[in-house]
């Protein structure tokens, strides 16, 4: 199924692009304040006369609010106000971003619970006090009387009641192509699996925080602590408060990790703004860890009943999946995206001639869910790769071989799959999946490792190796724009509407700008996450910044370069622009070191409005650059693991872990590897340790770091990297693909494959995380 290359308005890749900085592991520009204690995270932001907000949260998973008594709290000296739903009745529920999925509106979350509470942790009331400790005291004194209702705690059971007349299944998304039924009828063999992924999430080390103030003199609301999507959140907050977006400014300071969960619009973000407006004082809210674990988006929880039809050679004829997505109590900003993405990505890097999926979007009385790093792909890769392993086991084919037989070949690129993913048509833009697998096998020493593992198993050790292949999506469009300006000192500023959660945005964008313009990357200052500095912004998600913002920066910097060269050539150096180059901020004659030169600073000064030489030219050494992308760039990779299982404890030790990854073009390999290593550690959490457990009453069991177990240095192995640049994306001038999610995507799948091998039980792992208790159960069942 070959497709025409997607059309676009973007220039072709510039083969002569200088790459003094792109491709080099230069040190980060972000680091100095962060290693010297000068980072500015939300908790470190304060304003004079500020009030502290504390959220009173539901202790019930499901119930009707009978009464809320705040009189004791209000009597506490220093407690300024207590609000309930009645005080915010005019504020609409939090909207989701544009989605084509219909019928979700009734399930949006109100900023404070109205009539019913639907999960433990749901905001029910607010306390405002002079001091954070005092606010917590007062919150404890707010008496909330709830009449309990039966909770829904499992998404794969019969749907329950969200409210009279509304069930707990807002939608079922169906996708299909090809003749699935005919393929199953004709199949040589059919494998069927019942798979589950546990509820876990990003859990950044910094909890959420929001500090708002209203400047009545200018009638502007300022919100600090923004991240991920400042512009969208500005627009949503403005709409909810009935204001013009021009009177709401969001400011991102340092952000202690995002991973998809931080920076979505939550009730608290809106409430601090409203409170600052009404109470006439700055309002500060800093989430505590217990709150975070039951209030910030959860993710991942799904149960799949999936089957594959294959021919005698193990080639897939069709995949048929029905799955249940546990959305928790409300539909938040990301709508049904995680479920939709899962449904669209299950075929992975393989030829799947026929495919059918029915995805049931189910509400339960648990914390609402959203996107977490590799949303839908951690899940789909687990499902797809478990299927491939099952096919291999059923037909007695090697696990590597079955993948080779099913890969989409390089010659079929770009490959269009008749499916929508994340609301765009899925086109795999480029890739050599088989080629990367071969490289990974060689680097890992797969055959020798396998022989070694088999020798050890013969002596009684439960050691095994596994692999998982994946294709990702990155560079989510549709568009991004930046403004690049050189000032009269020669300093360069790139203003972008994206956000930084610590991944290295400033460095990478500076590297791209520096190469296109002809300056040192350390001269480039990247301003992000401020809605008052740039009109449009699209935020940080879906591994998009390097691709989208990087490409826009490249375009803007080339415009600035052209403008500088034109002026220098015409009015300063008596040359043509083609004779000139820009090196370290100085415009020089190509191949003539002794010729006169001028600096970018001089050009910038010459372009000051009113300056004589600027005659007839647009003032300022500045340009905007835009980049459009209708389709996503699709990086791909292979994970390989060696694990050792302790049969007595059910513990799993990762002995080796390789991530092979084709990124198209690595702007900063050190940072790419950093993304992979960090993603792998989070993936390992989801594979072995992390789970938001609930009891049968819907009471969360994982509300501290003693119960929600994140991997530490002893659990995470040294990750081996194989970065390849065999398949630069044809969709952007630099060939870029995103790096942020590659390390996490296939960890659950690869670890499951390796555990199966270690215990000699193909297909044993059907559920993540593989906790010691679950693995002991598997081992005991086999006895």
């Amino acid at each position: 199924m070959n497709a025409e290359p997607p059309r676009g308005t973007n220039p072709p890749r510039d083969p002569t692009a200088d790459s003094r900085f792109i491709g080099r592991s230069v040190p980060r520009l972000e680091d100095l304040p962060l290693v010297t204690g000068r980072g500015r995270y939300a908790a470190g932001i304060s304003f004079p006369h500020q009030l502290h907000m504390r959220v009173v949260r539901s202790a019930h998973a499901h119930g009707t609010i009978v009464a809320i008594d705040a009189s004791t709290a209000l009597a506490l000296p220093g407690c300024v106000a207590v609000w309930t739903a009645a005080d915010v009745a005019a504020v609409p529920p939090i909207d989701f971003r544009a989605t084509r999925v219909k019928g979700l509106e009734p399930y949006r979350q109100p900023v404070l619970a109205r009539e019913r509470v639907r999960y433990v942790g749901e905001p029910v009331a607010l306390v405002f006090a002079e001091d954070a400790y005092l606010a917590e005291d007062a919150a404890d004194l707010v008496a909330v009387e709830v009449k309990a209702l039966p909770p829904v705690v499992a998404a794969d059971q019969e749907p329950g009641v969200f409210m009279p007349g509304q069930g707990t299944e807002p939608t079922v998304i169906r996708k299909n192509y090809g003749n699935v039924d005919a393929a199953f009828r004709a199949a040589h063999a059919v494998v069927e699996l019942d798979l589950a992924l546990g509820r876990h999430s990003g859990v950044p080390l910094e909890t959420r925080g929001a500090i708002a103030r209203h400047d009545a003199a200018r009638d502007v609301i300022e919100l600090y602590g923004a991240s991920k999507r400042p512009h969208q959140n500005r627009d949503l907050i403005a709409a909810m408060l009935g204001r013009s977006p021009a009177t709401v400014h969001l400011y991102e300071s340092h952000v202690g990790g995002g991973f998809g969960v931080r920076g979505e619009l939550y009730p608290e973000d809106v409430l601090v703004c409203l409170a600052a407006l009404r109470l006439g004082r700055p309002v500060k809210w800093i989430e505590d860890r217990r709150e975070h674990l039951m209030a910030c988006n959860h993710s991942r929880e799904q149960r799949h009943r999936v089957r594959a039809a294959v021919d005698a050679g193990g080639r897939i004829l069709a995949i048929d999946d029905r799955f249940f997505h546990d959305q928790g109590a409300y539909v938040r900003t990301t709508g049904a995206r995680v479920m939709d993405g899962t449904a669209g990505m299950i075929p992975g890097p393989y030829r799947v001639p026929a495919y059918r999926v029915a995805a049931h979007f189910r509400l339960t009385n648990k914390t609402p869910a959203g996107t977490y790093r590799a949303p839908g792909r951690f899940e789909s890769t687990f499902v797809c790769e478990r299927l491939l392993d099952a096919v291999a086991a059923r037909l007695g084919i090697d696990r590597v071989e079955v993948r080779k037989r099913n890969f989409i070949p390089r010659t079929d690129m770009p490959y269009e799959r008749p499916l929508e993913v994340m609301e765009t048509g899925l086109v795999l833009d480029s890739g050599d999946y088989a080629g990367l697998l071969e490289k990974a096998l060689a680097r890992f020493g797969w055959d020798a490792t396998r022989a070694d593992v088999e020798r050890r198993r013969a002596t009684g050790e439960a050691v095994g190796l596994g692999l998982a292949c994946f294709v990702e999506k990155s560079g989510q469009g549709p568009v991004d724009g930046v403004r690049v300006t050189v000032d009269g000192t020669g300093a360069v500023e790139v203003v972008t509407g994206v956000a930084s959660m610590g991944q290295g945005v400033e460095t990478v964008i500076a590297q791209i700008c520096a190469d296109a313009l002809g300056v040192d990357y350390r001269r480039v200052r990247v301003v992000h996450g401020r809605t008052d500095r740039i009109e449009y912004g699209f935020g940080a998600f879906g591994s998009r910044i390097t691709v989208m913002t990087g490409s826009a920066t490249h375009a803007a910097a080339l415009k600035v370069r052209a403008k500088a060269l034109e002026l220098a050539a015409a009015d300063m150096l008596e040359a043509t622009p083609e004779d000139l180059d820009i090196v370290d901020g100085r415009i020089v004659r190509r191949n003539r070191a002794d010729a006169p030169s001028v600096t970018l600073a001089q050009i910038a000064k010459a372009l000051t409005p009113g300056a004589a030489i600027a005659k007839g030219r647009e003032p300022g050494l500045t340009a905007e650059g835009w980049f459009e992308n209708d389709h996503m760039a699709c990086p791909y990779g292979v994970h390989m693991a060696v694990v050792k299982v302790d049969r007595e404890t059910g513990g799993v030790k990762i002995e080796r872990y390789l991530v092979a990854f084709d990124i198209g073009r690595a702007v900063n390999p050190m940072l790419v590897e950093g993304q992979i290593a960090g993603g792998m550690a989070q993936g390992l959490g989801g594979a072995l340790f992390e789970e938001f457990a609930y009891d049968e009453n819907g009471t969360p069991q994982s509300v501290t770091f003693a119960d929600y177990l994140m991997p530490g240095a002893l659990e995470v192995p040294a990750v081996e990297f194989l970065l390849s640049e065999d398949a630069p994306s044809p969709l952007n001038p630099l060939g870029l693909k995103g790096a942020g999610e590659s390390g996490i995507t296939a960890v659950g799948a690869a670890v499951a494959s390796a555990i199966d091998d270690a215990i000699g039980m193909p297909g044993a792992v059907t559920r993540l995380p593989v906790t010691p208790q679950r693995l002991k159960d598997i081992l005991n069942r086999a006895r």
């Binding site: 908790a43 005092l134 990003g202 080390l205 505590d288 040294a718």
Partner: protein, 159 residues
């Protein structure tokens, strides 16, 4: 609860006169009373180690200590790790080895490692791994943190 006490905290060689309730944690007092916002609270119950500071040279979780308990003791925070403009070997090593991304856990790891290495730069690589395992990082996967601390230890031993 509101019986505030007058207290002098000695932080990074400077005295800070503060007035706090006995229940106020050291991390909150450092942030809000002393204006030293470099120490970050991560979990507030002693698991993640993001708030690690040195008290009389020993790594301490500042969320588990009350400010009043630090009376008369020498506190050292991330703001006091460099000597003027001269960065500590650990700070340089963290930058060189890409041992931080979002940076939130970084002050805790730096102070933890500084406490250990300034007492004994000869600790083994295996011991350093054990040290690193007492704090949590959500961004790096730890490999670069371990490498950075080992490199700084080597530099400190050579001095």
């Amino acid at each position: 609860m509101s019986d505030k006490q007058d207290l002098v905290l000695e932080v990074n060689g400077k005295n800070y006169a503060v007035r706090v309730e006995p229940r106020r944690t050291l991390v909150d007092a450092l942030n809000d009373e002393c204006g030293l916002t470099g120490t970050n609270a991560g979990c507030e119950h002693g698991v993640c180690g993001a708030c690690t500071v040195l008290v009389d040279g020993e790594p301490v979780r500042a969320c588990l200590m009350f400010a009043v308990q630090a009376r008369g003791r020498r506190i050292r925070t991330i703001e006091g790790l460099a000597r003027g403009d001269t960065l500590h070997p650990l700070q340089r090593a963290f930058m060189a080895h890409h041992a931080l991304q979002c940076g939130y856990c970084t002050p805790g790891f730096l102070m933890l490692a500084a406490g250990v290495l300034e007492r004994d730069p000869n600790v083994s690589d295996e011991e350093l791994l054990q040290v690193v395992s007492s704090n949590l990082c959500r961004c790096t996967g730890y490999g670069n943190i371990v490498a950075a601390i080992r490199a700084a230890a080597a530099e400190m031993r050579a001095k």
